[in-house]
Symmetry: C2
Subunit: 352 residues, 2 copies
């Protein structure tokens, strides 16, 4: 593997959340903006590995490893599975989840030196039920061992006690009569603001308490995003722009020493023409930028995201890395590493 | 227990999804609208038991049962838990999840005869991790044994392969090299439309395939809902009204023989003055009506929801049932049953 940027990161322990960071200027962890600023600078990367594992498209090496680590049922694959729709029982879920965790760990091993964070997509773990949730916890632990930040892509949003429940699940812990149950302990979560920022308050409070952050959906990367987000309000702003103003307002009390707030925004790389306007409305928010690669977005178009500095934007790529070998040929891990380094350099050049 | 409406439901097996229903007029299951119409009529109830279990507020009987069913660690509770924040390990999560499942089963047993469905809140299970997800699956199976429909309250919304992942998790199954892994198999899911209806398409397709439905957030019950949902668009409609039009459009191809569509709407009982306008825009949608009780909504104000017929609205109550004994005194199960029957009668009277 080529010389890698993380060599500059020094010996950091990877303890959750975030390990070392800027001096917090008091008690408690550094805010998410400062944590991210420090990590991006140390790793010279704004690249985020998106993890949306499809059990039917795992790296062959993951299946090989799963086969040799077999449990009581053995780990033999079932070549006729694609033709059936009958549930194969909890054993299948457990083995599939194990293979998914191995696949994600291999992908992390391959590209970690070129990335600053991973972004597991909750849906892809939830479809394997309880076993999938266990696999997710393993993947998060593995990312921590590489000193990567973890952004859970759950697009959660609910009210009242339910919002508090998600806060416990992702950032906090739950008191039970049998002792304390820890949540996933991620560094950030994507959230949906349709219910209003009052509904997001419990999530933001829980995130802040541990130096974590939120990424609020503002302008998503999908073809149909405009249907609601680009509707113009009577005030003159679009719904996205209104959301951007609310993000800036919610984040104003969470701006760290590096000038970045702990309330970021999801702003799709597929609509780069919107980035400049959104950046003006959210000067301190980190932009999480999905949509590069499979969805058609280009890193070269994302410069406005980085105007607050190198950590002003995070470029998330999923299939473009994990399935790079399908386009470029060769070993999946090597193809992923090459593509990650290429994208890292492209993004870094925007702030050079 | 008093004579209960479910006596009229006849012998139905509770097989997922939905068991018996109107003749589908061809192959495949009946649509969600017809299924709901039939169930509401048979049970003479539009009441939905919301399940948002707090491990710190479980019914005492649930803890007693959990104690006698103890696993290798024993099931003794930990009276000092509230003072600690250190993770108590996977044993605590497993025991807490088991107690949560028992608590929910007891609540279902208590009120099933007065209800037509249960609505588990995903956040409250996710905070217990993998063990919580297993508990949720148990709770769903228990509701099926009482012939209740299951509405997962997850407020999901994502794009592309992620939307497909949620479709697998809630309505479908996932092909893996180790065999097929079934999802939760619910009858309906609450979804968030901020990403546009193109993003909801995979979820709607998967729901329809099994005769299930979606409830799209249109006007939520929380105090801050107005911040975005009641903003007026340049077109003159509010965001909620625009969403309502899109719900009606998406549901138009899924209207069953009973005149109800499989794309419903979440319309909070705390804003009853909006219901008439929303009903005009969504004439065939079932309204899921949270917010009665703890949040201040009143069943008596919900008449516009029921204009398409008895199954035009579903009144969801969580804490108002499960914690009825804290207000009314007496045994939790008996207090919940009494309150459920009172609310069932109030709602049924609106369509009498």
């Amino acid at each position: 593997m080529s010389p890698t940027p993380s060599a500059a990161a020094g010996p950091s322990g990877g303890a959750a959340p975030g390990g070392s960071g800027l001096a917090p200027g008091g008690s408690g962890p550094p805010g998410f903006g400062d944590l991210l600023h420090e990590r991006v600078a140390a790793r010279r990367s704004q690249l985020v590995l998106g993890l949306d594992p499809d059990p039917a498209r795992l790296w062959p090496r993951a299946l090989e490893i799963a086969a040799t680590s077999g449990g009581e049922r053995g780990a033999e694959t079932d070549p006729g599975a694609a033709a059936r729709t009958t549930d194969a029982g909890p054993g299948a879920a457990r083995r599939a989840a194990e293979a998914v965790a191995i696949h994600c760990a291999l992908a992390i091993d391959a590209v970690a030196d070129h990335c600053v964070a991973v972004k597991p997509q909750m849906a892809c773990f939830e479809r394997l039920g309880a076993a999938g949730w266990s696999a997710l916890a393993e993947v998060i632990a593995h990312a921590r061992r590489h000193d990567l930040l973890v952004i859970a892509d759950g697009k959660r949003g609910d009210i009242d006690v339910s919002a508090a429940g998600y806060a416990h699940a992702f950032f906090g812990h739950t008191q039970t009569p049998f002792g304390v149950v820890s949540g996933l302990g991620v560094d950030a979560l994507t959230v949906n603001p349709l219910l209003g920022f009052e509904a997001l308050a419990p999530l933001l409070a829980a995130a802040r308490e541990r130096g974590a952050g939120l990424f609020v959906l503002v302008r998503t990367s999908n073809p149909g995003a405009a249907e609601i987000q680009e509707r113009r309000l009577a005030s003159g702003a679009t719904v996205s722009e209104h959301l951007a103003d609310l993000v800036a307002q919610a984040g104003a009390t969470g701006v760290g020493q590096a000038g970045l707030s702990d309330v970021g925004a999801v702003t799709g790389a597929t609509a780069p023409e919107r980035l400049r306007e959104l950046r003006e409305r959210m000067p301190a928010s980190v932009f999480l930028l999905p949509g590069v690669g499979a969805q058609g977005g280009r890193v070269e178009d994302l410069a406005p995201a980085f105007s607050p500095g190198p950590a002003g934007g995070l470029v998330t790529v999923s299939r473009g890395l994990v399935h790079a070998h399908e386009r470029d040929g060769g070993d999946p891990a090597q193809a992923a590493a090459r593509e990650a380094e290429r994208l890292r350099r492209l993004a870094w050049a925007l702030v050079g």
